[in-house]
Amino acid sequence: MNLGTRKVLDRSFTSLGIGSIVVMALALLVVITPIVYNGLGAVFFQGTIEHRKLLQDEFHRGDKAQLEREIEESGRYRMEAYRMLGEFEAELEGMDPVKARQYRMQLGPVKTALQGLLGPIPGEEPGILTRFRYGQTRWEKAEEKLHELLYESKWDYSDPNVMAKEYFVRRAESFEGTSLLPLFSYVEQNAEKMLLPRFTAYWGFLFDKSVDAHIFGGIWPEIQGTFFLAIGAMLFAFPLGVVAAIYFTEYAKDNLFTSMLRSANSTLAGVPSIVFGLFGLAFFINTLKVSESKSVLAGALTLAIMILPTIIRAAEEAILSVPKTYKEASLGLGSTKWNTIVTVILPAALPGIITGGVISLGRAAGETAPIIFTAAVSVGSAIGLADVLSSPTPALSWNIYNLASEHEMASEIRHVQYGMVLALVSIVLLLNLSAVLLRARITKKLKG
């Protein structure tokens, strides 16, 4: 091959490599950007006065005096709107009953939208569910509600052969000539003064309990549950896995039984996680009865079994990659086998073993299927360490699924879902990062 062709081949291979890295980076960007952007939106957003009221009522947080001032300030604008509403209701009393009935039917959605925007209307009994006790806590949601108040969504069914298209009609049009008419433009112009949005950094999203099934509040119980489950799984799986790896590499004879054990281990690594979940339910909860109900303990045990094969394989590889000369030198100096393993081989293999362990930890934190039947609940408080043996817990992975698909108001709480996703991704990323750092430190220590 002449030099020219080689150069061309070389260059094209390089560009191919760079190209694929760029594609990968772009793909990652496409996935990560919306998660980070929307996830941060759970913590940083334009919070309205309703958000501050909620914080004060539920968590006793915030400046009470200032809040009262703000309530008074926004109240002035709100009263004006409520006055218009009251005036119109009085006007209805004196109206022709047929016409009044027609107006009342149209007034219903207006009141619902107004209540959704600003919270309970004075004079009417506030709801018992927290979701009906407050207006919109986030400004971008408030803008959606404002649109709902101003416009009525209608569907154009005129062409019987095709699917209809949505169009919007100003609600004000149906109240032409009544005293309610000014309400719409008034609310539109003064919505900001009624809700007083301002930039909010709601760190409580990470450290608060949820309020009214995650519609308000934070995700601390989920974060804590995720840590409990992952660390619990590690406590069982890591020692077991390392011991098993030592057995495989140092003690097991090279016979049929050992190779069967090895292939069984590899097969276990490929079993779908839902199978582990069902096994955990049948074995740990229904047969062994480790706890009366689902519990962190049962979930951690199930996760431990799931990550065990990975830990065994990683530890095995790490031990095998320790140079033979280390072992020979140690044994040659008169050390016993066990002493050699503990003082020479394991420390040298430690970086590899820990890497495997931490990657498994990340997997345990992120898995959903094994904990559906063994540990996870959709609503529950943060549990203390004393309760891990008997109590189930919410956990990020399961609650993301639950909130996104099963929750009755799934489309209203996208920010919570994204916030949870970002929290989970960050936790797994942090774990993996710490594995890299830990490994670097240990390697440096061993060399030094």
């Binding site: 969504s153 009214d212 009366e292 609940v377 408080s381 189930p392």
Partner: protein, 271 residues
């Protein structure tokens, strides 16, 4: 070995940090229906707030609720259908005595995408759609579009009730119907698919989908309560034996004024 102990220390410190809250003396574990889920979750939050008893709620389907109470792994099983004879027998064999409590009434709303002009379907038409006899919306007064049928999984109490009240034994649901695992998932599938039809608990209906009239009756709290809406059912909570203590207090919530208000605010019907 210094490193090992460091890691262990780290884990221990984390554990100490996490063990902030003291354990509550009593707790209630609930499992089961996604339809009853909103009621259970709201009751749980209210109950924890007023009595301090911890309550956890899982939403894994009525079938799983039944299994959990049979295996003794929950205190209350939420179910959107009555326990089957088979399940009662299995419970009795394990020494569990399931006791039924009706917590609320619920209608199963048949929902379509709002862009669909169909306003009213008869029970027979719904049956024909789900059994696969009617495959295009123009056969039932809609636009020309192939019907996308959405059903629930076999674990679902809503599915059981729908089969029982709409399909009957003679008409199995077509194999081409798509399965979704929860009320919320059915709703969002119908909301995003113009030609879809699905069925969800009344409490799940919102502006993103359109509930059609069945035999000319609009599904609503009033029509479910007076029995004129044809697809309605009671929602259950099952306990092992007659409930006592905090479980009894919890079960009786639906007779308190707070409980009744929660049920109606969630869009369900007080019995």
């Amino acid at each position: 070995m210094k490193l090992f102990s460091k890691i262990l220390m780290g884990a221990a410190v984390f554990g100490m940090m996490a063990s902030g809250e003291a354990s509550a003396a009593q707790k209630i574990v609930m499992d089961g229906s996604t339809t009853v889920g909103p009621i259970a979750k709201s009751f749980a939050a209210y109950f924890t707030k007023t009595t301090g008893t911890e309550v956890t709620v899982s939403e894994s389907g009525s079938g799983n609720g039944a299994k959990s109470i049979i295996n003794g792994t929950c205190d209350i099983a939420n179910m959107s259908r009555a326990m089957k004879d088979k399940e009662v027998a299995a419970a009795k064999a394990k020494g569990v005595n399931p006791v039924e409590h009706v917590v609320a009434l619920d209608g199963i709303a048949v929902v379509v995408n709002p862009s669909n002009r169909v306003q009213n379907l008869t029970l027979a038409q719904i049956r024909d759609i789900y059994s696969g006899k009617v495959t295009n919306w123009n056969q039932v007064g809609g636009p020309s579009a192939a019907i996308v049928k959405i059903q629930r999984e076999s674990n679902s109490g809503t599915q059981d009730t729908f089969k029982h009240l709409v399909m009957g034994k003679a008409y199995p649901i077509s194999k081409r119907a798509e399965t979704q695992a929860s009320n919320g998932a059915v709703k969002s599938r119908v909301a995003s698919t113009p030609a879809a039809i699905g069925f969800v608990g009344l409490g799940f209906v919102d502006g993103s989908v359109k509930a059609v009239k069945v035999n000319g009756v609009t599904p609503s709290v009033e029509t479910v309560k007076d029995g004129s809406y044809p697809i309605s059912r009671p929602l259950f909570m099952y306990t092992n034996g007659e409930p006592t203590g905090v479980v009894k207090q919890f079960i009786d919530l639906n007779q308190t004024s707070a409980g009744m208000r929660m049920i109606s605010e969630l869009g369900f019907v007080n019995k």
